[in-house]
Symmetry: C2
Subunit: 227 residues, 2 copies
DNA sequence: GAATTGTTGTGAAACAAATCACAAAATACG
DNA sequence: CGTATTTTGTGATTTGTTTCACAACAATTC
């Protein structure tokens, strides 16, 4: 049965991403050990939060000694299955698809866009090193590269239809840039990225602050801000 | 004092966005009234949640009669300050910036990218109808158009420096695509969009599901999914 | 090697969000 | 007009998350 299953990324997981980015930076700077409050300062959370998050993912440090950055990063690689490569397909080579296909950070994190697809024959040529195929080759490529995750950058109107096809071929996770809620069975993970909403919510909070500043009522403001 | 102030968009606000998108669709289909459970079904939440959210934003319906779609949309326009236009600047006309500058949905929602900026002289010409200026004209444009919100699509390394400049000229909200935590005073709203993390977390949840499926342990799975 | 210091790890407490349960209101129907 | 039905709105309850407080422990000092 297909239904709407919005996927909400847990805050603790989001924070783990922050810690990792921070650890990578510290490591580059030659640092070898961190304390929970170091990470806390760098990422804008509290040190208890850091330790609680680590405990959720069963990461242990040494009392008084803090955490070994290498150990931590190793643990996190395990958590995120980063020890192996992940093959991704990207559907829709329009403005957004093209930008994403050129984004080097994906590869740096072992996420390889192995192929991209578009319905438009004019777009079906190699672009920035990654092949652009016609939709008819979707099944073949997904199977060949054992792809489980797709990026969907097609127009709103086609998104559900394309998602259905992806799932027929075994895709289990979709990052969806189209501003629609896809209907999928509960075992498929959908992560909706809605950039209009992201921009609009900043406008919302900026306006709220401007208004509140006028009233000198800071309490309300901080209730909606999290560190 | 500059510090890290991550901005977390409230879940209730995110849901209001969902409701609105749904209402717009229903209106196009000629529907005039909705019940909380209609919206709930369409957006994958519960009907109590819909009503609680509405009550948070002091939206009232009529008992038995449900809600008038036009009323609701009007209320929401107020909430999001959509009755007036919002001028936005975009810094960094690389891959991502170019895609964003061409995105028509921003304009449809009264968010106008009035100008874009890039440090690279080769990029400083008109592109897809929007002017691309050199950074030296930032102050002038921000003041002329009373811009309060910016989109930041410059490389990681320059992000903080550019953010500082934006804030010097009065910018109060930033949608930041660079994978760094910007240090800003607490009255500035930062919304970090980290697409690597978004993709990686889908991989994370997909893997978790695959593993859990093997164990036929669904309980754990659903604890991390929210509707 | 005992006392001191600094840091982790985690139960308990406080806080926040979602769900439940139902009274109140509006409408429909006999 | 009164009874049944439907849906809202919201207190009460449950569930989830963050912060607090401190015991446990490792390292350091004397
Ligand atoms: N451009 C942006 O900055 C931006 C920002 C946020 C969200 N989005 C969303 O991302 C999606 C893509 O946006 P865009 O600006 O790249 O649009 P676009 O029109 O430039 O690109 C869409 C691409 O999808 C292809 N396509 C259409 N139907 C298809 C199908 N059935 N199968 C395969 N390919 C198909 C088209 O040929 C085109 O190349 C849209 O849903 C849009 O709302 C875009
Ligand atoms: N391309 C993507 O799909 C993608 C996805 C997610 C995040 N991002 C992030 O978005 C940002 C931009 O990515 P991109 O792929 O467009 O990179 P890019 O290199 O294509 O574009 C960056 C642009 O910023 C300009 N620039 C550099 N320094 C500047 C400065 N000090 N002031 C003004 N302009 C400056 C450059 O001239 C260039 O045009 C990066 O931080 C990247 O990590 C990109």
């Amino acid at each position: 049965m297909k239904q709407i299953t919005k996927y909400v990324i847990k805050n603790s997981l989001k924070r783990i991403f922050l810690y990792r980015a921070c650890l990578v930076r510290l490591k580059l700077m030659g640092v070898e050990k961190v304390f929970s409050y170091t990470l806390a300062n760098e990422t804008g959370v509290t040190s208890e939060q850091v330790r609680k998050d680590f405990s959720e993912f069963s990461i242990k440090g040494n009392k008084r000694g803090g955490y070994e950055i290498n150990d931590l990063l190793g643990k996190m690689e395990d958590i995120f299955h980063r020890n192996k490569d992940h093959n991704i397909v990207l559907i829709g080579m329009g403005n957004m698809g093209l930008a994403l296909s050129k984004y080097s950070k994906f590869v740096q994190r072992n996420m390889n866009i192995v192929a991209t697809f578009d319905i438009d024959p004019f777009k079906q040529k190699e672009r920035s090193g990654i092949p652009v195929y016609s939709m008819s080759r979707l099944k073949e490529i997904i199977e060949r590269f054992k792809v489980k995750v797709a990026i969907l950058a097609v127009p709103e109107i086609s998104a559900q239809e394309v998602a259905d096809e992806l799932m027929r071929h075994g895709i289990k996770g979709i990052v969806n840039f189209a501003p629609v809620l896809l209907k999928v069975p509960p075992d498929v993970v959908i992560n909706n990225v809605n950039l209009c909403d992201e921009l609009e919510s900043v406008i919302y909070y900026v306006h709220k602050q401007l208004k509140i500043d006028g009233f000198k009522n800071l309490e309300l403001l901080y209730r909606d801000m999290k560190y």
